[in-house]
């Protein structure tokens, strides 16, 4: 219960008590006594009217004062409410948003000042992180470029290297590429956090993209003999960034292939439900526990049994989630008892206007 409400109830109870007292006194003074005098046949109304009147007047003033007090309390606590609403709006990318200031130097004002100082410090540290990752991207890529070129030169200039050494060097090149990919993904996510990535907002026929993703999944799944089906593909129009949506689809399709069991299947369905498009990509694979399902969207999170076989970098789902959120949708993973796991994406349809 809020402080305002508690005080309000307190005031109301006090006011009600006073009113009851007043009513009783009024009844006693004006009705009962008058009746008593009338019964005795005496007209004695002038006896002590002024004293009684002032008692009633002051007693009547009490509820009025209490009411005013309650309004005053509300007024004093109002900045707290504003601060709460402002704090609710704060996220990592709008820490510089000015907080409402209370005009006087009271406790609420001090709270405001402390809060502002805290968000400023937070903003500075966020800013440092962003700059660090952006520079890191450049500083890491330069040596990686040199390393890759040197490894390739070794391969090209020594055609007679034993097979094991060639394999070893190719392995190094693969690792260099993987590092580069991690750097790229981290840079993207950092920029996205900082609100520095702008997405296109254009009409996109999402079903066409899903159809393409299905064809790519067919090809990707071929070496592992996985069955890929497109069960439903409703024609849906979204507003968004075509390239990003394709990137998201490819991440999900690639995951469905990578984390599948031999001879398993992949089922893709795109449905229109009210004003959202629902995409479901289901694959056969190990069941994922509910805690892991949520954790998998975190950076560098990997499933319990995924680490050995797949060569991902643990950022794919984070990027997919960012893309879905940036389009105003949501994404979740679901596992059922039959060892089927689905990625479920819901995206708002383009408005009909």
């Amino acid at each position: 219960m809020t402080i305002t409400k508690r005080l309000g109830i307190g005031y109301a109870i006090m006011a009600a008590t006073c009113l009851c007292l007043l009513a009783w006194l009024g009844y006693h003074e004006f009705v009962a006594e008058k009746a008593a005098f009338a019964a005795r046949g005496v007209s004695d109304l002038h006896e002590d009217t002024s004293a009684e009147f002032s008692t009633v007047f002051f007693l009547g003033l009490v509820p009025v004062m209490l009411g005013l007090g309650w309004l005053w309390t509300r007024h004093v606590l109002a900045p707290l409410g504003a601060l709460t609403r402002a704090a609710e709006q704060i996220e990592s990318n709008n820490l510089r948003m000015p907080l409402p200031r209370s005009m006087n130097d009271d406790e609420v004002g001090k709270l405001n000042a402390v809060f502002s100082a805290m968000t400023t410090r937070l903003d500075e540290s966020f800013q440092q992180i962003r700059e660090f990752t952006l520079h890191a991207s450049h500083e890491l890529k330069t040596p990686l470029t040199v390393m890759r070129a040197q490894l390739e030169t070794v391969l090209r200039e020594n055609q007679s290297l034993p097979g094991t050494q060639t394999e070893w060097i190719r392995g190094q090149i693969d690792e260099v590429n993987r590092l580069a990919k991690i750097v790229d993904s981290l840079t993207l996510l950092t920029k996205a956090d900082a609100g520095l990535v702008t997405l296109e907002r254009k009409p996109v026929r999402f079903d066409e993209l899903v159809q393409e993703a299905f064809e790519d999944a067919l090809v990707l799944a071929h070496p592992q003999h996985l069955q890929v089906t497109l069960d439903e593909c409703a024609g849906v129009l979204l507003t968004g960034d075509r390239h990003r949506l394709r990137q998201m689809l490819l991440i999900l399709a690639d995951n469905a292939v990578k984390y599948n069991c031999p001879g398993g299947g992949i089922h893709i369905a795109l449905r229109e439900l009210g004003d959202v498009a629902e995409l479901e990509i289901t694959n056969d694979g190990d069941t994922i526990s509910p805690e892991t399902q949520r954790r998998l969207f975190n950076r560098f999170a990997r499933g319990e049994n995924a680490t050995q076989k797949a060569e991902g970098c643990g950022l794919g789902l984070t990027i997919a989630q960012w893309i879905v959120h940036a389009h105003g949708g949501n994404i979740e993973l679901r596992s059922d008892a039959e060892k089927k796991t689905s990625a479920l994406v819901r995206l708002p349809l383009a408005s009909k206007t």
């Binding site: 890529k141 990686l144 890759r148 390739e152 840079t187 920029k191």
Partner: protein, 226 residues
């Protein structure tokens, strides 16, 4: 006359190995490390292509690019960048770059792209492409080999058109992904190789002369084998 390429790259090691790789391809190469010097040189020297890094000493690469385009210099530019993400690529191409290569890159990738850029001037867009007895009509989208019709899916057609337009030049997987799939990110899969396999079955099967060739570690090329 040798094709002349300018490399603008602030990291000396990187600049040197790019130069070495391009010289091995028979290009004449100049190296510069500073953006302002590079801009001055580009304005007065008719290079055939420029390999331009975005992070430079002095003026940065994007600024060099915008200035030279504003100055009316149409020399093809290949941008190199430490940032491989979609947005940076779009930004680079919008600034007037002809191609974009994120670091770290394969040297073959770089040389293939520079070769494509340096020869860009000679490309003519003809409606009917031909290599040996294979023809592709880009208007009716019909492919024929030795008079035999070849049925192609949309993607196979786009792949064939791209390869035939680049006839004689090696196309890397990355270039194919960009031009045919319009993927400006690494999908981390062998989707190109699988499609090439399918296309090869359709155009080269039962034919004595193979037209679609793999170049190990580099990519694919279409040509009449000698």
């Amino acid at each position: 006359m040798a094709v002349r390429i300018l490399i603008v790259e602030d990291d000396k090691k990187t600049a040197n190995f790019i130069a070495k790789a391009l010289m091995e391809e028979g290009f004449a190469v100049d190296i510069m490390h500073d953006g302002d010097d590079a801009l001055a040189a580009i304005k007065i020297t008719p290079f055939d292509a420029v390999v331009l890094d975005i992070m430079l000493i002095g003026r940065d690469g994007l600024s060099v690019l915008k200035q030279m385009r504003a100055h009316g210099v149409q020399t093809p530019v290949l941008l190199l960048s430490a940032r491989g993400e979609l947005n940076e690529r779009v930004e680079g191409l919008n600034a007037g770059a002809d191609d974009y290569l994120p670091k770290p890159f394969a040297l073959e990738e770089l040389t293939a792209r520079v070769r494509a850029l340096a020869r860009r001037g000679g490309d003519v867009k003809t409606p009917i492409l031909q290599i040996g007895d294979l023809t592709l009509d880009t208007i009716s989208r019909l492919a024929e080999r030795g008079g035999r019709r070849i049925e192609l899916t949309t993607r196979e057609y786009r792949l064939l058109e791209f390869l035939m337009r680049s006839a004689g030049r090696v196309c890397s997987r990355m270039m194919i992904l960009e031009k045919v799939w319009d993927y400006h990110f690494d999908p981390g899969s062998n989707v190109v190789d699988v499609y090439i396999g399918k296309l090869r079955e359709k155009i080269d099967a039962d034919c004595g002369v193979k037209l679609l060739h793999s170049v190990r570690g580099e990519g694919y090329v279409m040509k009449e084998a000698r």
